[in-house]
């Protein structure tokens, strides 16, 4: 049920998209899960405004989004911490705040971390496709990247905010991602696995919701040949012939043909999604 209210995108940021918790269960039809790259951050932002955890919000890499509300709206920010202003007044993350009718909410740029999540009470009521409002950037599903002038309908509120503040996660000194070896660790030399677990890797600018390309010592294969296409998972470290791993994120292809040396464990996927180009990541055995 729509309340008829809308949110106007004034500035679209750097590839911001509408996301919810995605489309699980359709990989056999070639459709990946997609959804928020840091799902815990979106869930938290939704809880703070009294939404169901799977309501649709905005995922804004490097912040930079500006939106205008047709009616007064209760909002919350989570994920990467950035300065933000509602009607010109500063507002903080991890707590609900109100944006007056006709006022604008402007997101600055996070000092660390990558993806900022904005939840609005009632959720973004864009049409669902295959059961989700998420934008899947490779499958061409969902409303696509935000653009200035776009109007996003707001849904009717389903509940009341019940918390004033959520504890902010302590910023980590360094990004450590724990990996489970396989499924194709036997395609690599033992040295390659040792390298992966001991050497730092740098997130390159050639990274998006599909995957993070990493720069660092190449991982040598123990065998040659091609792998027939096989199912891929979020967190997979796929190694193309260059030897430099690609860490698959939420919009990863459903199947792939390069061997996966290891998979980042599920609880660390949000951390991975917050690593930004130039950041260093360290892999450790889970």
């Amino acid at each position: 049920m729509s309340s008829g209210a809308q949110l106007l995108v004034v500035r679209s940021g750097f590839g911001a998209t509408v996301q919810d918790l995605g489309r699980p269960g359709l990989a056999a039809l070639g459709v990946g899960r997609s959804g928020a790259a840091d799902p815990e951050a979106l869930r938290l932002a939704n809880r703070l405004v009294g939404n169901p955890e799977d309501a649709a919000g905005i995922e804004a890499p490097m912040g930079g989004v500006e939106v205008e509300f047709g009616r007064a709206a209760t909002c919350a920010l989570a994920g990467a911490e950035c300065a933000a202003w509602a009607g010109g007044r500063p507002v903080g993350p991890y707590a609900p705040f109100t944006v007056p009718a006709g006022a604008r909410l402007r997101l600055g740029t996070p000092a660390r971390g990558l993806r900022v999540y904005l939840a609005v009470r009632g959720g973004l009521d864009v049409p669902a496709e295959l059961g989700s409002r998420a934008t899947d950037t490779i499958a061409g599903l969902g409303p696509g990247r935000l653009a200035a002038g776009l109007l996003l309908p707001l849904g009717a509120a389903a509940g009341w905010p019940r918390v004033d503040l959520a504890p902010r996660p302590a910023p980590a000194d360094r990004t450590v991602l724990h990996v489970i070896p396989g499924p194709r660790d036997d395609w690599f030399t033992e040295e390659a696995f040792g390298t992966l677990l001991s050497e730092p890797y740098t997130v390159t600018s050639d990274s998006d919701r599909v995957g993070m390309r990493l720069d660092g010592p190449p991982l040598a294969r123990a065998r040659v040949g091609e792998l027939p296409s096989e199912g891929m998972v979020c967190g997979a470290l796929q190694v193309p012939p260059s030897g430099r791993p690609i860490l698959f994120l939420v919009d990863h292809p459903v199947t792939g043909g390069y061997p996966v040396i290891a998979v980042v464990r599920r609880p660390d996927l949000g951390t991975a999604a917050q690593a930004r180009p130039g950041d260093t990541v360290h892999f450790r055995l889970a």
């Binding site: 056999a28 459709v31 296409s229 096989e230 199912g231 998972v233 459903v254 199947t255 998979v263």
Partner: protein
């Protein structure tokens, strides 16, 4: 059969060939072990996602290893999807040259075979069909095309398939179908799910003057 761990909540089961994939997929689909949430068949594997709150990978490995694969387990497909094809693809002549057949014989062999959807991937609704005449097994193009139109019917290696949307692609293009194969507003969005039987039928009607005004 090998069961390989694949992160916190999945295992990858590797078998010998496409037929065993179909048998394994059918067996798992008919009686999924406790905690299994999703099955993703592929060329030689089935990816099994599970809920780590109720299952763990060692128990899944034991459950999967205990399965016996049987041809009988693969249910006969309920229906056969017939796909009308106009065999006017830009690679038809090249495929004929590479296989030592005439273009006419390529078309005859492509329409004679009975196909099954082995798995989907690459793009939403892109189905890899097995059953291709071995004589038509040709490698994909050395240089992939940047734009393959929606509805392009193509072959590569042991597979044939139909591009559901315009996309880049490296398969050899034999023809085109006007049938809409992927519709995200429909439920299900595609009729080509793993296990579906498929035939190609030559469409000899005159192409419409107006592109896009064709009816299925």
């Amino acid at each position: 059969m090998r069961v390989l761990r694949c992160g916190s909540d999945a295992v990858l089961i590797e078998v010998e060939d496409a037929e065993q994939v179909q048998q394994l997929h059918a067996a798992l689909h008919a009686a999924p072990p406790t905690g299994v949430t999703e099955l993703v068949p592929a060329a030689r594997t089935v990816l099994v996602r599970y809920d780590p709150a109720v299952a763990d990978w060692q128990r899944l490995r034991a459950a999967v290893t205990a399965l016996t694969l049987a041809e009988a387990a693969v249910a006969a497909p309920a229906e056969t999807v017939r796909i009308p094809v106009r065999y006017d693809g830009p690679d038809l002549a090249e495929v004929a040259r590479a296989t030592g057949l005439t273009p006419r014989q390529v078309v005859e062999r492509h329409t004679a075979a009975h196909y099954r959807v082995a798995f989907c991937g690459f793009a939403p609704g892109f189905a890899y069909l097995t059953g291709l005449d071995p004589r038509l097994h040709v490698p994909r193009r050395a240089e992939p095309r940047t734009r393959v139109p929606a509805g392009a019917v193509a072959i590569a290696d042991e597979y044939t398939g139909i591009y559901p949307r315009q996309s880049p692609g490296g398969w050899q293009l034999l023809g085109t179908t006007a049938l809409t194969l992927w519709d995200p507003t429909a439920d299900p969005p595609t009729r080509l799910r793993p296990g579906t039987a498929v035939r190609f039928v030559e469409d000899e009607s005159e192409p419409d003057a107006e592109e896009g005004s064709r009816s299925a």
